[in-house]
């Protein structure tokens, strides 16, 4: 065993910048001689707004905090660092922002010269329109219909999700720090292992298990470093936080996290099959993983993610305490909706508005999925959400939709000076509403297609 070759990948965070990396276990990780530091910075969980509007979802200071730790650590040890899905969404702006932060750290701390690769993954809407017109079928995921031009018209920004291939190319080109656009979580970890010739199944499986760092360990902790070791036969997972353990149960539990199918993980080049996977405890803190398979796709694919603006959005927040009003809550909301309709017509028309009542204390958390949408407490909080083509109209609808709860006419009213309490009688400007418009798969001849790499030297 001791002569067997191995590669050790260090995973310090499941979402770079979302909350800062914990320094303690990161420093311990550096002392465990990793061969690369790899961190994913992206997520669809944050909703469609950051991609559609091309805004970072995390504060720049936290992104900088994490990038600084990783760049400094990687330079001290002389190992590569790979950061995937820059700035939450992996847009070109996100890649450029992260490259600028890397440059800032390298120059400030005199860590250069460093060879940096920026891999871009934004995809031009018009390029996809051309493919659709040429008859290429861009299949929908999750039961969505194939991508059509009308959907493209509703889309503001699209990224392609890269596999390991463009990252391997960047490593071949001598890149020491790689910042990627949108990338599969598992691929950014698989890339250095694949380049070194480790088996595909183990390489992608390692990425799958390490992508959320300490989420594969127990007890539950975020932002703590984990190290994964790959050999030609097995994977070994070990947490760096002294209070955490990677157990067969914690690692297996993570393998199915955030996925519909716990047995399969699809990437550009094919899919990982976890049916035959085995988890064994090596000791109290380390788990050995064997038995994943990788099935090459007959043709590579690139997953597409796209978001488009739905409208301007405004919110109003109010509460209701009167038990009589509460017992007529649906009528109160219906009254307020009618007053909005009198002025703006029915909701949901093309180019029109939408109005939502989120009633916390009844079903504000789960909405239409709430099994018991009843008020059992003595008060509810109501968030009125208006979406409309213009900000002026959204503001007006949120105001009408909330103030008319105050004026609701009911069969029995004792409190004739207002049927609702305003947290503050104001309409709050919310971020515009966006929607995930594209969740599709594009067949390609080469998994490198559509991704563009720029090599540069910083701190020279």
């Amino acid at each position: 065993m001791s002569t067997q070759r191995q590669m050790r990948l260090m995973s310090p965070t499941g979402h770079l910048g979302f909350t800062p990396i914990e320094r303690g276990s990161f420093e311990i990780g550096l002392r465990h001689e990793p061969d690369a530091i790899v961190a994913d910075s992206g997520s669809c969980d944050i909703g469609p707004y950051p991609l559609g509007s091309d805004q970072p979802h995390s504060p720049r200071e936290w992104q900088m905090h994490d990038i600084e730790l990783i760049v400094r650590g990687a330079r001290e040890l002389g190992i590569p660092a790979i950061i995937g899905s820059a700035s939450d969404t992996g847009t070109d702006r996100g890649v450029d922002d992260y490259v600028a932060m890397v440059r800032e750290v390298v120059e400030r701390e005199r860590l250069g010269p460093v060879r940096v690769a920026a891999i871009y993954s934004e995809i031009d809407r018009e390029l996809l329109r051309g493919l659709i017109r040429d008859g290429v079928e861009i299949a929908g995921l999750n039961g969505r219909p194939p991508l059509d031009e009308a959907t493209l018209d509703r889309t503001d920004r699209i990224v392609g999700v890269m596999g390991a291939e463009p990252i391997i190319d960047a490593l071949d080109a001598g890149a020491e720090i790689i910042i990627t656009g949108r990338a599969s979580d598992s691929a950014i970890f698989a890339a250095p292992a694949l380049r070194a010739g480790y088996p595909k199944a183990l390489a992608y499986c390692l990425g799958k298990l390490l992508e959320c760092a300490s989420f594969c360990a127990e007890p539950y902790m975020g932002k703590e470093t984990v190290i994964g070791t790959i050999t030609d036969e097995e994977l070994i997972l070990e947490p760096m936080h002294p209070g955490q353990r990677c157990t067969p149960a914690s690692v297996a539990g993570h393998a199915m996290y955030e996925r519909i199918d716990p047995f399969t993980e699809t990437v550009s080049a094919g899919s990982l099959d976890l049916r035959g996977i085995r988890y064994e405890a090596i000791d109290e803190r380390r788990t050995r993983v064997t038995g994943p398979r990788f099935i090459d796709a007959p043709r590579p694919t690139i997953k597409l993610e796209g978001a488009g603006k739905v409208g301007e959005r405004a919110l109003a927040i109010m509460g209701i305490r009167d038990p009589i009003t509460l017992s007529y809550l649906d009528e109160v909301i219906a009254f307020a909706r009618r007053k909005v309709e009198e002025r703006f017509g029915p909701p949901g028309q093309p180019g029109g508005y939408e109005l939502f009542y989120h009633v916390f204390g009844r079903n504000g958390v789960m909405g239409y999925l709430e099994p018991t949408p009843e008020v059992v407490g003595h008060e509810v909080g109501v968030v009125v959400e208006a979406v409309a083509p213009t900000r002026v109209m959204a503001d007006e609808i949120a105001a009408l939709g909330s103030r008319n709860m105050f004026y609701a006419r009911l069969p029995v009213v004792k409190g004739t000076a207002g049927g609702a309490s305003f947290f503050s009688d104001e309409v709050l400007a919310a971020r515009p509403g966006y929607q995930w418009t594209v969740a599709h798969v594009l067949p390609v001849d080469d998994p490198r297609e559509l991704f563009r790499t720029r090599l540069l030297t910083v701190g020279g």
Binding site: N142, G143, M256, P262, R278, F356, V365, P371, Y434, Q435
Partner: protein
């Protein structure tokens, strides 16, 4: 039925983890993870934990329960439902899908005393 001769337990007292989270932009996936093998086996064979019962609990058509599997390596039951609109759309509740699991707590599972 089993419940008449044996004992029933609530899912919250049997599972070590009950969670929900987005699985992509159109779905919410639920994981119910057991440490006790006999509880896992009881949940696996239970008629109270099926796609039909989940659809009834969440008041959605059974076709919207798009997947329901037992995952032996983690001693887990995992199912996934389709959202009405993609996560984070205006009007759509719970952007991360992370608070959709509590209704599962009260599901009664028949546990065979002889196990």
């Amino acid at each position: 039925m089993a419940g008449e001769t044996g004992t029933t337990m609530k899912l919250r007292d049997m599972a070590t983890t009950i969670r929900s989270k987005n699985a992509g932009v159109d779905h919410v996936t639920f994981d119910i993870i057991f440490r006790e093998p006999r509880y896992y086996e009881a949940a696996k064979r239970s008629e109270a934990l099926t796609p039909q019962r989940i659809a009834e609990l969440y008041r959605i058509p059974v076709e919207d329960v798009v997947s329901f599997v037992a995952f032996d390596p983690a001693q887990a039951i995992k199912f996934t439902i389709r959202r009405r609109r993609p996560a984070g759309s205006p009007g759509e509740p719970d952007t991360f899908g992370s608070q959709m699991y509590p209704p599962l707590f009260g599901i009664e599972i028949a546990v065979d005393d002889a196990d």
